[in-house]
């Protein structure tokens, strides 16, 4: 661009002002206003960041506390056998994270506690020799605890706990379809009780507890950071919500606007249930086989011997008693201290100290047997006996051709179900991308989900 062109532009740019049509505006007030607005925004952003950091620190602290609660590899304890449909049973240890793609069940050795995992459920096996704790991370479980079982059994979630001694109940952590925890009524932790009594306690700091009787349920919700527990008089009420998955034992997978896919999926689901029933029957029959029954008897005897020796130890009993007292203090902490005039920060420090003492005590209880030679030897025998039972059962089942065929068939059915879901999701995404309403005025034969061809080269189930 030459000098003349630049001169021309300069004159053209300034001519309106020279002609008196416009004049440079005074932007000082606007600039100052914007600056102050940005300053305020930065202030709130810093506050929000501080709040997020504080929340993250709290989560990390709780996670660390949870880890403390779990035993290390050194004192890992085999607690039972995990039966996943579509797989061979295997022994599981305390501190293990268990998750199953389909239905599964966890049988606690020597405790008459049976936990059914619905598809998608996952949990940490916590607890110690004084009592069993299962930390449900996601999904739904159904627990059967023999009334004769005297060992405490607690199911924990991030919202609260369900404590029992002999009952049958289900616990579910609800999530939305994207895997996020939902919020609001009926959308947190749901407990349904089918037999006996379950104590449902909201997580700290509320620590409210309700006793839920058979035929009733409870919902633990979190609103504005405050956990509340509410008893629902009739499980039928809960079954109308998504909690129906836990109550009815059915997983409702919906394919809105695609009846073909829905029909195919329902058929596969029924097929899966039938195969699972057959698998379960073979497992039950196999567990009665002489070699397996002998292993089970040995397991029961060694578990009983270990527990007897443990409970006879006065130091151990004192530790358990101290923990019971601390847990009681923790449960009543917020309600008991509310009106004593202590500053909230100070009260929170006290609560943290109490929590830490409890964690330390849990660690001591968990590792107690490891530090007493006689108990350590019995604990080792117990672990070997449980593993021996699981191995004996596993070998017997692996040798059963019918059982192994069932395992493979269940896998194939699950693959087919996953394919249907994936194809449906792809079709929905495509329609949304094209701006169509899902399920609206759709011709199934023209690219419908149900009409999608099978993937080439992929093994498909024949039913």
């Amino acid at each position: 661009m030459n000098q003349e062109e630049l001169n021309d532009l300069l004159v053209e740019g300034l001519l309106p002002e020279a002609l008196g049509v416009e004049k440079p505006p005074d932007v000082s007030a606007r600039v100052l206003f914007k600056v102050q607005q940005q300053r305020r925004y930065r202030f709130w952003r810093r506050c929000a960041a501080a709040a997020v950091l504080a929340a993250a620190a709290a989560v990390l602290w709780h996670a660390a506390a949870l880890r403390k609660h779990e035993p290390t590899a050194q004192n890992a304890e085999t607690v039972g056998v995990f039966f996943a449909f579509g797989a061979l049973p295997r022994p599981v240890q305390r501190g293990e994270y268990i998750a199953a793609p389909g239905e599964a069940r966890l049988e606690y050795a020597g405790s008459s506690i049976s936990v059914k995992f619905y598809p998608g459920a996952a949990a940490f096996i916590a607890g110690d020799s004084a009592g069993e704790r299962l930390r449900l991370m996601r999904g739904a479980i159904h627990c059967r605890v023999d009334p004769e079982n005297q060992r405490p059994f607690v199911v924990e979630t991030e919202f609260g706990t369900a404590s029992v001694k002999g009952t049958e109940f289900s616990v579910q952590v609800l999530e939305d379809e994207n895997g996020r925890k939902e919020s609001g009524m009926f959308k947190r932790m749901v407990v349904c009780v089918f037999a006996g009594v379950v104590a449902v306690t909201a997580a700290a700091p509320a620590e409210d507890t309700v006793a839920v009787n058979a035929g009733a349920g409870a919902v633990v919700t979190v609103t504005d950071g405050v956990t509340t527990v509410m008893e629902i008089g009739d499980t039928a009420l809960l079954s109308t919500s998504v909690a129906g998955t836990a109550v009815g034992g059915n997983i409702f997978v919906r394919f809105p606007g695609d009846e073909d896919t829905q029909r195919q999926f329902n058929g596969l689901r029924i097929r899966e249930k039938m195969l699972q029933e057959k698998q379960l029957a073979i497992e039950m029959k196999t567990s009665e086989a002489p070699a397996v029954a002998q292993a089970a008897k040995t397991m029961d005897e060694t578990i009983a011997a270990f527990r007897q020796a443990l409970m006879a130890n006065k130091d151990y009993a004192a530790l358990v008693q101290e923990r019971d007292n601390l847990e009681k203090e923790q449960r009543n902490f917020w309600t008991a201290k509310r009106e004593d005039g202590i500053a909230p920060q100070e009260r929170h420090k006290q609560w943290i100290a109490l929590f830490q003492r409890l964690q330390e005590l849990n660690m001591k209880i968990s590792s107690f047997a490891d530090n007493v030679p006689e108990l350590a030897a019995l604990k080792k025998k117990q672990a070997e006996a449980i593993a021996g039972f699981a191995n004996a059962l596993q070998q017997a089942l692996a040798a059963n051709a019918e059982y192994m065929a069932l395992v493979k068939q269940i896998d194939l059915v699950r693959d087919a179900m996953k394919d249907l879901q994936a194809k449906y999701t792809t079709a929905i995404q495509r329609r949304v991308h094209l701006g169509e309403q899902p399920g609206a005025n759709r011709e199934p034969k023209e690219g419908g989900v149900g009409e999608a061809p099978a993937q080439p080269g992929k093994e498909t189930a024949v039913f």
């Binding site: 661009m1 001169n7 532009l9 740019g13 300034l14 309106p16 932007v27 600039v31 100052l32």
Partner: protein
């Protein structure tokens, strides 16, 4: 930068920046927005020249050029100054026209106003129709009896005359 410094900077340079933005081809509304954004961007800088100095003016114009360049790219507009190199030429030209000492170009506008008084008849009418009433070339041509292209050429010659006149006046002041 505290509020007092910012206010002093805005008062000293806002008119010059606005005129510079208009020179680069921004319309009145965009020029006002870009000037405001320039000061907000300057406010975020930790190091800055003293307000009211030529260095501060050049620094602010550099910020404005960058913002205007981004603005044009965002708007996908085909403008003369879309090229960063041409924008630098514009800065050199702005300074060469004796505007360095006159940071807000008031003297240039005053000289231009005086030169405009020397125009009369059809020239004055064409300028009024173009810059006061924002009429198109064809519309102006219909009023003054010329074709659109004729109006365009006439206006360009007129601006060249005005530029010469302003330069003579400013040099006269300088001498």
């Amino acid at each position: 930068m505290d509020d007092n410094t910012l206010t002093a900077m805005v008062k000293a340079h806002q008119a010059g920046l606005y005129r510079f933005a208009r020179y680069l081809g921004a319309d009145a509304e965009s020029a006002e927005d870009i000037v405001q954004e320039t000061f907000l961007a300057a406010y975020k800088q930790k190091v800055f020249p003293p307000a009211g100095t030529p260095q501060c003016g050049a620094w602010l114009r550099a910020i404005l050029r960058n913002l205007f360049h981004t603005h044009l790219r965002r708007e996908k507009r085909q403008a003369l100054f879309i090229n960063a190199e041409v924008m630098r030429q514009a800065e050199v030209h702005w300074q060469s026209e004796a505007l360095v000492e006159d940071q807000d170009a008031t003297a240039y506008v005053t000289a231009l106003r005086q030169c405009l008084r020397q125009t009369n008849g059809r020239d004055r009418e064409m300028l009024r129709l173009r810059y006061e009433q924002n009429l198109g070339l064809e519309e102006i041509g219909a009023k003054v009896g010329l074709a659109g292209e004729g109006v365009k050429t006439a206006l360009r010659r007129l601006r060249a005359k005005l530029a010469d006149c302003v330069r003579r006046r400013l040099r006269g002041f300088a001498s």
